[in-house]
Point group: C2
Chain length 349, copies 2
C-alpha cells in the first residue's frame, strides 16, 4: 500500500487512550506504510505511550487537543462548544487532507453531527448513513446493512441513496460483482410494508444501477442471500440491537446450562474448543468499525466499549476503505445517477 495517514480520536470511547494507544501501536506494526496522528491530551497520550514503551516510534505524531466530547453530550452541544475536542480536531485533519480517514470510539451522535458539519456529504447524497458488516450462515460471507441509526423517518429517496452507497461498498470492499440489494420489510402480515417501503421498492425496481432483489424479512437477513440490506435507521438499529439481545440471551442460557453441575461442567470444558470457532464467528469485535457512508471523507465509528482487539478492527476497516477509495467511488456513482436522472431515472418519471 502507499503511504497513508489516519487521524485517531485517541480520547474517544469508554476507555480512551488505554485502548486507542495500544491498538494504534498494534496496527502500526501490521502496516509498514501507515502513519497515525494520535489526537488528544498530549500529556496523557505521552504517558500511555511510555507505558507501552513506544515513546520513540517514528510513525505516529501527537496532535494536542484540549477538550473531550463526553459520551452523553448532545450532538448540538458538542458541535457548538467543543471546537478543540479530540474528535473535532481529528475530523478537521481529514478535512485539511492531513489524514485520509478518522477513527473514533466517541459519542455516535456527536461524531456524526461533527463529521457531517465539517466534511459535508457527497453532492447528491442527502443524508449520510451508518453501515456495518454482519455474519451469515454461509461460511465467511458477510452481509452489510444500512442505515443503522444515523437517520430516522427516512424518505424513499434517502433509502434509494443508501442502496447506491451500499452497492458501491459491497463491490469495492467485498469484491462482489453486482451486489444483491434487498429491502427490509415485513411479510405475510396484514399490510405488506409501510408507505416508506412501498415507495422505495418502486424506485429500486426501476433502477438500472442497482441489482435490486426484492423484499427481505428479518429472519432472512443472516441467511447468506443478501449482500446489502436497506432500511430506515430506526428499523435497522432495532434489528441490530435485538439481534445482539438474542445472542446475549443464548450465550447466557448456554453458560447456565453448562454450569448446572459437576458433569455438565466437564462437558462444558470438552465443548470449549468446539464452541470457540462459533463464538469467534459471531464475536462483535470482529465486526467493529461502522462506517459513516456518504461523507466527503472516511469516518469509522468504533463501538464505545471496544477493547484493543476490536479497536484494531476499526482501524483496519479505515485502512481498507482508504485503499479502496470509497468516498470517491460513491461520488462517481452518484454523479452517474444524477446525470441519469435527467434522462431516464425512475425518480423523475
Amino acid at each position: 500500500m502507499d503511504n497513508i495517514t489516519i487521524a485517531v480520536d485517541a480520547m474517544g470511547g469508554d476507555f480512551g487512550p488505554s485502548v486507542t494507544v495500544p491498538a494504534a501501536l498494534q496496527v502500526l506494526k501490521n502496516h509498514k506504510a501507515l502513519h497515525l496522528i494520535l489526537v488528544g491530551d498530549q500529556a496523557v497520550l505521552k504517558k500511555e505511550l511510555s507505558i507501552n514503551n513506544s515513546i520513540n516510534e517514528p510513525r505516529y505524531t501527537i496532535q494536542h487537543a484540549s477538550q473531550c466530547v463526553e459520551m452523553d453530550e448532545s450532538p448540538s452541544q458538542a458541535l457548538r462548544s467543543k471546537k478543540d475536542s479530540s474528535m473535532r480536531v481529528a475530523i478537521n485533519l481529514v478535512k485539511a487532507s492531513k489524514a485520509q480517514a478518522c477513527v473514533s470510539a466517541g459519542n455516535t451522535g456527536a461524531l456524526m453531527a461533527t463529521a457531517h458539519f465539517v466534511l459535508k456529504s457527497i453532492p447528491g447524497i442527502d443524508r449520510p448513513a451508518i453501515v456495518s458488516a454482519f455474519p451469515t450462515v454461509s461460511g465467511s460471507k458477510i452481509m452489510r446493512m444500512l442505515d443503522l441509526g444515523a437517520n430516522v423517518d427516512s424518505s424513499a429517496e434517502n433509502l434509494y441513496q443508501f442502496a447506491v452507497m451500499g452497492s458501491v461498498l459491497a463491490s469495492a470492499v467485498d469484491n462482489i460483482t453486482n451486489p444483491k440489494v434487498y429491502l427490509l420489510n415485513i411479510g405475510e402480515e396484514v399490510i405488506k410494508g409501510n408507505e416508506q417501503v412501498k415507495e422505495t421498492a418502486k424506485l429500486l425496481s426501476n433502477s438500472k444501477m442497482i441489482n435490486y432483489a426484492g423484499y427481505i424479512e428479518g429472519d432472512q437477513i443472516y441467511a447468506g442471500e443478501a449482500d446489502i440490506v436497506i432500511c430506515d435507521g430506526f428499523v435497522g438499529n432495532v434489528a441490530l440491537k435485538s439481534s445482539e439481545g438474542v445472542a446475549i440471551l443464548i450465550r447466557k442460557m448456554l453458560r447456565d446450562s453448562y454450569n448446572r453441575n459437576f458433569l455438565t461442567r466437564i462437558v462444558g470444558l470438552l465443548s470449549k474448543p468446539v464452541l470457540k470457532p462459533v463464538i469467534k464467528r459471531i464475536d462483535p469485535d470482529r465486526y467493529n468499525g461502522a462506517t459513516f457512508l456518504g461523507l466527503q471523507g472516511i469516518v469509522i465509528k468504533s463501538h464505545g466499549g471496544a477493547g484493543v482487539k476490536a479497536y484494531v478492527h476499526a482501524l483496519e476497516e479505515a485502512i481498507m476503505q482508504i485503499e479502496k477509495n470509497i468516498p470517491q467511488r460513491i461520488g462517481a456513482e452518484v454523479e452517474k445517477l444524477l446525470k441519469l436522472s435527467k434522462i431516464d431515472d425512475p425518480r423523475v418519471s
Copy 2:
C-alpha cells in the same frame, strides 16, 4: 374451570387437519370441561378423526365449512369471496357466542381482516394489535411485545392503546402487579427516536393508568426488566424476525461446529443433555399462539408451520385467555381511560 368452547379453524395452516385434529384431541384430554368445534370439510375431518381413533369422542362437534382461505390469499379477497371458509365460520361462532375463542393457523392477514370485520374492535381501541410472549435471561420470566405486525405507520395514540392492552394482558395472564411498560427506541444515535416514539413517550409519561418505565433498546428487550414492550408493527415484526434469524444462525453454527470431525461429534453427543434445556427454553413451539388483542372476542393465531405440540400451545393460550376474561378486562380498562380523558387524560391536555 367452567365449561368452555373453542372454535378451531381445522383447515388452517400449512398442514391443516393432520396437525389441528391431533392437537385438538390432545387438549381435550388435558381439559375435562373443554368443548371444541372443529370447523372445516366434514369428510376430511371425519377421516382424520378416524385415523386418530377418536370418531366417537363426545366433547367435540364438527361444523362443516365448504371453503378454505389460502395461505397467500389477499385479506380483502378472503373477506369478499370466502364467506363459508373454515376461518370465517370459526370466527362467526365467536360472534354468535357459540364459542368463546377462535384458534387458527391460517393466513395472518386474512385472519386479522376477517376477525376485525366480524367481531369489531373494543370501543375506544382504534386498531387491534398482535402480541406474543418471548423468553428472557431471567429464568422463566417472559416478556410480551406488541405490535408484531398488525399495523404499520401507527400513531402515538395507537401505541398508547397498545400499552393499555399489554398492561391488562400482563396483569391478568402473567399475574404481574403494575406491569412495567417500555417503549422500544434507538439509543445513543444521532436523533433519539422518531416523531412517533417521542409523541408516544409524552402520552405514556403523563398517564396515570400505565406503569411507564421509559425507553428500551433492542438489546435490552430480552434482559428480563420489561414486562411489556410497545412498538409499531413494522418495527416489532423486524425485531421478532431478526431475533429468529440470529437464533437460526447460532444453531447452524453450533451444529456445523459439532459435526466437524469424529471427536467433535462425540463432544456433541455428550453435550446433548446440556443443550436440550436451552433449546427447549428458546423453542418457538413454546411461544406459539400470538393474540389479536383489542377485538371483541378472543382470536389466537398459531404459526402457519406449527406442528402438533406448537398447536397445542396455541389452544392452551386460548383457554387461558378465556379463563382470564381478557377482552372484557381490556374493555373495562379502556372505558376507565375514556372517562378519564374527559377529566385529566394527557391526550386531551
